[in-house]
Symmetry: C2
Subunit: 267 residues, 2 copies
């Protein structure tokens, strides 16, 4: 099966999900689209994010992708059901896998969620958890500064530490034992978030859980790439500033990004 996996995000953050996918399935071919001209989605309305998401999906479908990963929490929150309904290939978002894992992990039945304002406001993680287990208590906290901190590479300095304390102090007092990193940028700040929350709280990386879900889905549908299919390729498309994506993205992926191409979705 030589068809690639398609992944889109509002920008750079989804690369942490791609990284997890490649860790789980190293041989797979991938096409990544970062909508960097219209980033961030987190502060935009549901209508706007839905429109953008369909444009992104349409672009990726041109590459005959076998599965679509919506590697953006805001987009997953706002329009995953619609994408699933209208597309003929499997569509996997980052909300459900993260929520499912958190429910598995919590013994206290108390889960925290951090993310962008949009993701938190959407209530998507909250709803996904409550659908599985109504009795679980859920606590949320938007952390707007985590995204620029991650992009700046300030992931382990005193400013990041104090910011983490400022955002997490209240949620820490709620005796949660699982915390969902509900934004794809946040895994870069994992070590600081973990320090602040302490070792009684398990951090749930939605990207990691999503990759496991993708592997399971491809296996079930017999769509995994066979080893004999040759070398894998990874293409990256952005709607603006390939240079910045290359630079910051390399930090996110932990490897140099080549093949970053500019594309205009509005044509």
């Amino acid at each position: 099966m030589k068809r690639p996996i398609g992944i889109f995000d509002s920008g750079i953050g989804g690369l942490t999900v791609l990284k997890e996918i490649l860790n789980a399935m190293p041989g797979e071919d991938t096409i990544y689209l970062g909508d960097t001209a219209r980033v961030p989605y987190g502060t935009k309305s549901a209508e706007t994010v839905t429109r953008y998401s369909f444009e992104n999906a349409k672009f990726l479908l041109k590459f005959d992708i076998k599965l679509l990963v919506v590697a953006c929490n805001t987009a997953s929150a706002y329009c995953l059901p619609q994408l699933k309904e209208e597309l003929s290939i499997p569509v996997i978002g980052v909300i459900e896998p993260g929520a499912k894992k958190a429910v598995e992990v919590t013994k206290a039945k108390r889960i925290g969620i951090i993310g962008t304002e949009g993701t938190i406001r959407s209530g998507a993680y909250f709803d996904a958890i409550k659908t599985i287990d109504q009795s679980i208590a859920v606590f949320t906290q938007p952390c707007p500064l985590f995204v620029p901190l991650a992009e700046e590479g300030w992931t382990n300095n005193q400013i990041a530490r104090m910011t983490a304390h400022a955002y997490l102090n209240d949620i820490k007092k709620q005796w949660i034992d699982a915390l969902i990193l509900g934004c794809t940028h946040y895994p870069l700040l994992k070590s600081i978030i973990s320090d602040v929350m302490g070792n009684t709280v398990t951090l749930i990386d939605s990207g990691h859980e999503t990759a496991a879900e993708v592997a399971k889905c491809l296996m079930e549908k017999n769509l995994l790439k066979t080893i004999s299919s040759g070398e894998s390729f990874h293409r990256f498309f952005v709607t603006d500033s390939p240079e910045r994506f290359r630079q910051v993205g390399s930090r996110f992926m932990g490897t140099r990004l080549n093949n970053v191409e500019l594309v205009n979705l509005e044509d």
Copy 2:
């Protein structure tokens, strides 16, 4: 003269410019457009920012504006000459007034500029200063976290202070005596920036200088509103999330924002 002044910005930051305009000319009518669906401009390419700016201008021209203020440093940096050439009304950006004032103020002939990555990369302030006085030494520093700090309202806490130190330490060592706040969000952090830089450095608020330029231009062209023209009106348009604009924007303006209307520029 009952025609309003038109002002656009990529989002909320331009409100600090509007505030200065209303301080300088309290009776004027204004139409403000915040392109919140496509914010930020600072990380986008010159082509994209130029296209968006012309769409913004086109929208404002429908209101028979008598003067256009480009209250966005990135847009001013990338396309002010083009806007001036194609529009039949006066167009004033935020770069030149700030640069001019800094040149007036500096005795050491050493000026610092802080702004978004896009503004700094564009070299617009640098060029504007060098055009006036080739002999002035110019030092620049992008400060990406200042924007989310201002929007979060974290303008006077320890995190803002440490961030200011981290960004400004190098530029402080250059013995500058004037520092241009080259981003409309930064006036909210003025007191912390001033503390870090010390009292030998004059902070130049581009918005304040732009307002003075607008007043001068309207006076020269006899376009100032006469007192007898009755009460003034202020309308606000955004391309996304009026609620968030109302909420954060009220902090920027120091007064409650009414009349925030949603508009779709892509129709």
